[in-house]
Symmetry: C2
Amino acid sequence: MRNAFHEQLDLIAAELTAMAQMVQTAVQQATTALLNADRALAEQVISADPQIDQLQRLVEEQTFDQLARQQPVASDLRILVATLRIVTELERMGDLAEHVAKVARMRYPDIAVPVDLRPTFAEMGELARRMVGMVRDNFVGRDVTAAEQLMEMDDKMDELRSSIFRVMLADEWTDGVEAAVDVALLGRYYERIADHSVSTARRVIYLVTGSYPEDDDDSRY
Amino acid sequence: MRNAFHEQLDLIAAELTAMAQMVQTAVQQATTALLNADRALAEQVISADPQIDQLQRLVEEQTFDQLARQQPVASDLRILVATLRIVTELERMGDLAEHVAKVARMRYPDIAVPVDLRPTFAEMGELARRMVGMVRDNFVGRDVTAAEQLMEMDDKMDELRSSIFRVMLADEWTDGVEAAVDVALLGRYYERIADHSVSTARRVIYLVTGSYPEDDDDSRY
């Protein structure tokens, strides 16, 4: 019975990993679609999102099932409870990638991001992609240092976002209101993907150590 | 033993209700602070947020404790698992109210929202406040119709947000890029408060019926 249970836990962990992989792909493709006005790729991200949602439901049901049937204690219980939270975070990260793809689609054939800011968004996209990858690897390793690294990467994301505000609010901004609105929201989406990565990592730390690392959300917005 | 357990469930429910009340106050005060450039009130919302976060930790710990000690089944298990999710949603709603208050504080003594859009934001703020109130009452009643009503209110919120975009992207916008950025993000914060309300309500429906109502997120952004 214990063996079957641990096989189920392994299955759930594998599904979480698969889900994180799908989210990572969505983040990467959404950024590419955004910066190249690639409509087909944007559509691909948008149409793939329901698969992420389905996987969320599946993992939630299986996790709930294990809680109900096995009435686990100690670390097994902790893992299952953390799974419920992590799966929610991943689903939101997928939604945010979809939001980025929707902006790309809405502005097609134009590129939503003004040319001067494209390197910054490329960097934010790459940072977000790497963070999701670390979240994925973190399930497997439950590596506390990886979680700390994610928090540092989140600071970098906040800096990038601040630099966008500085550009937009400078007198030289000539790209108009529409571009400013797009850029403000896109910046928010990437920042949130980073936040969710950190939040997931904090869950993993909690899983390992039984206590939470401190939060430091001091963003201006 | 069962009685002590159900007393604990009642305590957790009361704490959730208190937390929802604090979030509702935060949403109302943040809107007032925003539309009146009331810096003291904005500070109050910002400094109250850690109390919401503390309550989240407390409820999470108590819920986890009950899961570990009582190994509940069926509807008790469902309630505890839903609690873990709801408490996360409420915490986020509190953060979003804090974000609104931070914009109010950042633009003080100016009012961040241009005069023409203030009635729309007043309406969004009031809608968000009512939605949080329904979430709070919904824990107690577990009322499926309330959850459906929340979904209709969410559609109304999306309409209000769309109307803001129409105003901002019209040629007559003379309020500049900074105001547009503020308004775009503020609109997003209120929309997310509404989304979290619906998400919480969907959890409650799941709690009552054992199956999820369908989602219909077809926002442009």
